[in-house]
């Protein structure tokens, strides 16, 4: 138990890692996910559109946890025109959702780390967590990680470290 917890602590420097100390990681279901939006040294930077969703391992209905888009955009379209650029998420269920979605959608985020609580009723090992980011004048990246506490991965371009922690 202890090494796993320490590993987790070493990986996630944010608040969720501290709570992981209290409940042993391997036994507890993942409670939060921390997503890093990297700071990019580019001439023209726009905050990325980001979608976070869970997919059952054996297939099934995906569950969207968060969608960050330009929801304050004015004009004919309230920022939803580019949601299809999150193309994996769009195909996996985003296209069936009405936006803005209560408790799910929000404004785009500046570079930094963000922690999202996971639904309490998901069981470890049965889901894959997906994070997809698409940036105007930039790239697009999809990162997936099995939903277990202590699970971690990292994007290469548009996303930084993705860390799962017990609640």
């Amino acid at each position: 138990m202890r090494p796993t917890t320490f590993l987790l602590l070493g990986g996630a420097i944010t608040a969720p890692a501290l709570t992981a100390l209290v409940s042993p990681a391997s036994a507890a279901p993942a409670g939060t996910v921390t997503i890093t939006i990297p700071r990019l040294n580019v001439a023209e930077y726009h905050k990325p559109y980001v979608a976070v969703w869970l997919e059952p391992v054996g297939g099934g209905t995906p569950k969207t946890l968060a969608v960050w888009y330009d929801l304050k955009k004015r004009g004919n379209d309230p920022g939803t025109k580019w949601l299809a650029d999150l193309r994996a998420w769009w195909r996996k269920g985003g296209r069936s959702m009405a936006m803005p979605a209560d408790g799910v959608s929000g404004a785009t985020r500046a570079p930094g780390q963000y922690t999202i609580p996971l639904p309490a009723d998901v069981k470890p090992g049965q889901y894959v967590l997906n994070v997809e980011a698409a940036r105007e004048t930039g790239g697009r990246e999809l990162v997936s990680v099995p939903l277990t506490a202590g699970g971690r991965t990292s994007g290469k371009t548009e996303l930084g470290a993705i860390t799962l922690s017990a609640r």
């Binding site: 379209d77 309230p78 939803t80 025109k81 299809a84 193309r87 195909r91 296209r95 999809l142």
Partner: protein, 279 residues
């Protein structure tokens, strides 16, 4: 004046016949096939050329192009324009679901001999020329005609675009001619995944049908990259998509089951352009 007339004739000759009869390819290229938001517009290039998707030969005429809304009713084509090499038009995707945009053509071609003179049915290919006599039809074949050879030609050229979640109403088939009845939704194609499309002839599975699949971007590679695929006995075509991009699909079929009186043969073609996205 002369170049224009020549050009017009060339255009007329090429544009109204199905791809089966010509090395030149008819195509429509949508700006995208998957749309989100509340103010979606698709803009489409339509042309006839050899290399896909480069407009360098003739425009596709806009007269025959129709729009079907997700509920199957007819929609509107807007901002249509025909240039030297291509036509362009927009469709406002103001209803969620899958839209169909395309043309359907049918024609009768052939010839007969009457009183020792050979005459052609259907006249010149393409739209009527000013001052030209009305083209002959099957009804004009006299009783004493010999060497009657009549061929029925039909073709469809369609693309599908989806706003929001995909629907399938526009895939409803008529049971006439060569038709496309996709199993995998054509707006849900992903590189690395196999798509399955069923082809029907007169509403029945078109088994053993040859289908040509060509990726766009011809100018930037050496090979044509065309694949000749064949449907199974159930009329189902399985297509793997090696990379993301736009692909041109063309199926042609000739059989001896025309519906036109006195026709002995019919030639059918189906053309579509599909977009394959990265996973």
């Amino acid at each position: 004046m002369k170049p224009f007339a020549v050009r017009l004739m060339a255009a007329a000759a090429l544009l109204s016949i199905p791809a089966a009869l010509s090395a030149h390819r008819m195509w429509m290229l949508p700006s995208a096939t998957v749309f989100s938001g509340t103010d979606g517009w698709v803009t489409v290039d339509a042309a006839v050329s050899n290399d896909l998707f480069f407009f360098d030969h003739q425009p596709l005429r806009l007269d025959g192009i129709k729009v079907w809304q997700p509920d199957g009713s007819e929609g509107a084509l807007q901002n249509g324009a025909t240039g030297r090499y291509r036509s362009v038009f927009d469709v406002k995707l103001d209803k969620p679901g899958t839209w169909k945009i395309g043309t359907q053509m049918s024609a009768v071609m052939g010839s007969f001999k009457a009183d020792g003179v050979e005459k052609r049915l259907g006249g010149r290919r393409g739209p009527p020329q000013p001052g030209a006599p009305a083209p002959l039809t099957v009804a004009d074949i006299p009783a004493n005609a010999t060497d009657v050879k009549v061929t029925e030609i039909s073709g469809r050229n369609e693309i599908f675009v989806t706003a929001g979640a995909p629907t399938t109403t526009v895939f409803k088939t008529t049971g006439k001619g060569l038709e496309f009845a996709p199993i995998t939704h054509p707006d849900e194609l992903v590189a690395g995944e196999t798509a399955k499309f069923r082809f029907l002839v007169d509403g029945k599975p078109a088994g053993g049908l040859k289908v040509t699949v060509i990726p766009g971007g011809k100018r930037y590679r050496n090979d044509e990259g065309a694949r000749e695929l064949t449907t199974g006995a159930d009329g189902v075509l399985s297509v793997d998509w090696p990379t993301a991009g736009m692909y041109w699909l063309n199926a042609t079929l000739t059989d001896a089951k025309p519906t036109t009186p006195r026709a002995t043969e019919r030639r059918m073609s189906y053309v579509t352009t599909v977009e394959v996205l990265t996973p």
